[in-house]
Symmetry: C2
Subunit: 269 residues, 2 copies
Amino acid sequence: VPYISPLLVPTATGRASSDGHRGRVAVVGLGPAGPQWLTPEAQAELASADDLVGYETYLARVPRRRGQRRHSSENQVEAERARHALELAAGGSRVAVVSSGDPGIFAMASAVLEALGEGNGQYAGLEVRVVPGLSAMQAAAARVGAPLGHDFCVVSLSDHLKPWEIVERRLRAACEADMVLTLYNPASSTRREQLARAIEVVSEQRAPSTPLVVARAVGSEAESVTVTTLEQLESDVVDMRTLLIIGSSTTRIVPGEPRLVYTPRRYPG
Amino acid sequence: VPYISPLLVPTATGRASSDGHRGRVAVVGLGPAGPQWLTPEAQAELASADDLVGYETYLARVPRRRGQRRHSSENQVEAERARHALELAAGGSRVAVVSSGDPGIFAMASAVLEALGEGNGQYAGLEVRVVPGLSAMQAAAARVGAPLGHDFCVVSLSDHLKPWEIVERRLRAACEADMVLTLYNPASSTRREQLARAIEVVSEQRAPSTPLVVARAVGSEAESVTVTTLEQLESDVVDMRTLLIIGSSTTRIVPGEPRLVYTPRRYPG
C-alpha cells in the first residue's frame, strides 16, 4: 500500500510523500556482480529510495536500510514489477527499481517504459529516470582485453520474446558485415538448442579459429572467463549467467598467459 | 594484484618500483563527463597509480595527487601513448592510462593491447588490465529512457582507420536485420560528409518517423540530449562530442514532455 502523508495534498504530477518529495521511479543499474562497479549515482539513488523493487537475487545485493521497504519478486515478471513500481510512485513514493548490469540493456528500463506507455497517460507527470550501470559485456571484455574495441553487435539469443527467425537474421547480418558479436542469454537449463544453432549459423561465415570469449558470472565468486575459439567452444559450460563474445575477422589473441584478446581499431582495406 | 616486497629482486616480468610493486598498466575508464559515473574500481586504480597517461582533456578530470606524475598528450596519438605507458610499466611503474567512457569501446584499451601485441614479447609478463567504465551510449540512452533495450549495433562513423565501404556495409546490415543503431564519432568539424551519407543509407530502409536520439556531451555542462526523428535530424548540431542512436522499427516514443523513447523487449512475429 502506497504511503501518503495526510498533510500534503496530492498533485497532478504524483502525490508528495511524507518527506515532501514527489513520487518518482528510478531504474537503477547495479552493474555486474560485486560492489566495485556500483556508480556514485546509483549508490545515492538506492540510499534515498523509500521503496526498492526488484528480482530477489538483485535486491539481495543492496544493503538494508531502516525504513526502506523492499518488494522482491521472482524472475521473469518484469511487466508486473514495472507496474508495481509506477503504482508506488503514483502514491508519492520514491521508488528504485533494481536491475543488474545496465538497466537500459536487456533489462528493466524497457519494461518500466513499456508500462508507462501502456498506462495511457495515467502516470503523466510522474518522474521516471534511468540510472545506467556497467553491462556484463563490458566487465567480460575488460577481463580479457578489448574484444569490443571496434564495431560490434549485441544480440540476445533468447526467443522468449522474439521469433527465432529474427535472431538468425541478426546473426547473419553481423557476420556479413564482419562485426564482433556479443550474445546475451545464450542458453538456460532448458533452452539449449538456440546456442548450437547460433554457433552453426555463425560458423558458416566465420573461421573456426575465430576468438571467442566465454564469460560467466563476471565479478562474482563464481566468475569464470575463458578465451577460446569458435570451433573449440564447449557449449555445456554455457548457462544463464554466461555471455559470449565472438570475434570478427580482425580480432586477435595476444600470445601468452593469461590469453588476452582485442579487436584492433584499424580495419584493413 | 601481486605485491612484491622491496627486498625482492627485479624479475623478468617487469622491474620493481621504489615502492616495491611490480610495474603494471591499467587502462581506466572514467565514464562520460562528471564524477557521478566513476566506479569505485576506477577511483582506486587512479588513486594508486604512480603515473597517469592520457589525452589532456581526460587527465584534467582526475584530481591531482602529490607524487603522482602526469603525462598528457594531444588527441589521436593513441599508439604512441600506449607504448609510452608500457615503457613506464616495464620500468617498474604502476601506470594508469586514462580514457573517457569505457576504454574497451572505441577507446584506449585496444591501442594498449595492440602495442602489447606488436611488442613481440618485450612486455611479456607485464600485468595489463582494463578497468571498464560507462560508455557514452549508456549515459545517452539513460537520459531518454531505454532505446537500447533490445538488440543493437554499435558503429563508429569515422573512416580515419577503416574504409568507408565497411561502414556502409555495417549500416546496411544493421538495417536489414532491424537492429537499433548507435553511431559513435558521427562527425567532426572537418568530417561532415559521412553523417549525411549514413543518414541516406539508413533512410533507404528505415521510416522517416524512426526515433533518433541526438546526445551531445552527456554529463558535462554542455550536455544536450534531444529526441527527434530520422527525417527531422538537424545534422548541423552534430559534432565530435555527439553520438546518435537510431531506433529500429519497434522503437517507440512515449508521448509527453520530456520525450522518452524505448525499444520494447518483445519483437513481433
